[in-house]
Amino acid sequence: MIWNIIGTWIAAGLTIAIFSFLYKDNPLYKFAEHLYVGVSAGFGVIYVWAFDLKPMLIDRFISEHGIERWILLIPAILGILMFSRWIGKFGYLSRLPISFTVGIGAGLGITASVQGFLLPQIQGTLLPLTTINNIILVIGVITTILYFYFSHEFKGKTQYILRVGVVFIMVSFGASFGYTVMARISLLIGRVFFLLSDWLHII
């Protein structure tokens, strides 16, 4: 119980230290900022060990037999080769694991982009032009795509197509701004709620 009270005061102190930046940059803020970076980096190391290397590599190496065991040396070596960039002369070896991950990422990305985005989204745009909403949606998608089509210059009256695209883009940016304001205010509400409720017990 006493540890929770101490912890709450530590959390409140760190919260106020970060908020002090609103007045101006100061040593208290810098202290909190550097502590954050250090602790976050430490968390990353623990997580990699506890949730990747130990269960996926070490435990598996111990429990598997034969070829299934020894083949795990390949990702282990690839992973260790990542660190070769720290040794100047052997830095080129880090290209091997990078190539492996990039190749897989590219391969997965192509199929997912087509199957998971392009085709369903185009299908979602193939709407009967029987309602005003459908008409607006189809026009919006086409004019927005055309706005970013730089291989052909739109001159004269065809420029109006781009103007329509700009209207849709501005509305979407305005909507995104409105939602972003909502998101940021929510984060502030969360912190103030912690200070007033958990720390000061006012609410």
Binding site: G7, A11, A12, L14, E33, H34, V37, G38, V39, A41, G42, G44, V45, I46, V48, A50, L53, P75, L78, I80, M82, F83, S84, R85, R95, S99, V102, G103, I104, A106, G107, I110, S113, F117, Q121, T125, N133, I136, L137, G140, V141, T144, F148, V166, V167, F168, M170, V171, S172, G174, A175, S176, F177, G178, Y179, T180, V181, M182, L188, R191
Partner: protein, 233 residues
């Protein structure tokens, strides 16, 4: 040879992944699954890469007593404290996640407030930007502003409250009967329409362009035309 092997690896792995999409049967299916497991293992190692440059940078700052070197001590203290508590908790409690453990104590009372408050600061800056910089200089900016205001009104109960006040005010005018409109939630309907139709259309158009570019880049990478990932090593 030094430059060829990475390109061969990219080509081979990318091709196998794509082929497996169309032929999920053996041997491609199990080969892809094995590659995905290896990817997960190797991805873990990449998370450790930044640690070296971070530690080295701050150790140099402490050694040379550069300006603000005291804060570098704070950073390294935080790092080693976390590592110590993390491995201790993991050894004693079997998992760093165990609630009530020292590691989760650090998470609850240090990570959560620091991380959350860093981003909560943005609320103040966005309000300041809205006041000082958000100007309707052009017709496009005006359109953006109007859409933003309509969304901000419709997204929260404020819009409904405003409607009720306006309707109550107008109802005082003889002959005006708008009480039935109270249940309509006009601002919320406008918000829903903006998000469902014009906003969706524009986002879809933008992302179709981005995705097409991404596909082109992925093909270039697999074919070895794009090699920027090999630099810096």
């Amino acid at each position: 040879m030094r430059n060829q092997i990475p390109l061969i690896i990219v080509f081979a792995t990318g091709l196998i992944i794509i082929i497996t999409f169309f032929i999920p049967h053996e041997p491609f299916g199990s080969l892809e699954q094995r590659f995905l497991i290896w990817y997960s293992i190797v991805a873990g190692f990449t998370m450790l890469l930044g640690l070296d440059s971070l530690t080295r940078y701050h150790l140099v700052r402490i050694r040379d007593k550069m300006s603000g070197w005291g804060f570098s001590i704070v950073l390294l203290f935080g790092l080693f404290l976390t590592l110590g508590l993390g491995f201790y908790t993991w050894a004693k409690y079997q998992s760093p996640f165990t609630l009530g453990s020292p590691f989760m104590y650090l998470y609850t009372y240090v990570i959560i407030p620091l991380q959350a408050t860093m981003f909560a600061l943005l609320a103040f800056f966005i309000a300041s930007a809205a006041y000082r910089a958000f100007r309707a200089r052009t017709s496009e900016a005006t359109l953006l502003l109007i859409a933003a205001v309509l969304i901000m009104l419709g997204r929260v109960p404020l819009g409904g409250w405003l409607e009720k006040q306006v309707i109550d005010l107008l109802d005082f005018i003889p002959g005006v009967h708008l009480t039935a409109l109270k249940s309509l939630s006009i601002f919320a309907l406008i918000n829903d329409w903006i998000m469902d139709i014009p906003q969706t259309a524009a986002k879809r158009g933008i992302y179709i362009g981005i995705v097409l570019g991404g596909i082109a880049m992925s093909i270039r990478i697999i074919l070895g035309i794009e090699r920027s990932y090999t630099s810096g090593s």
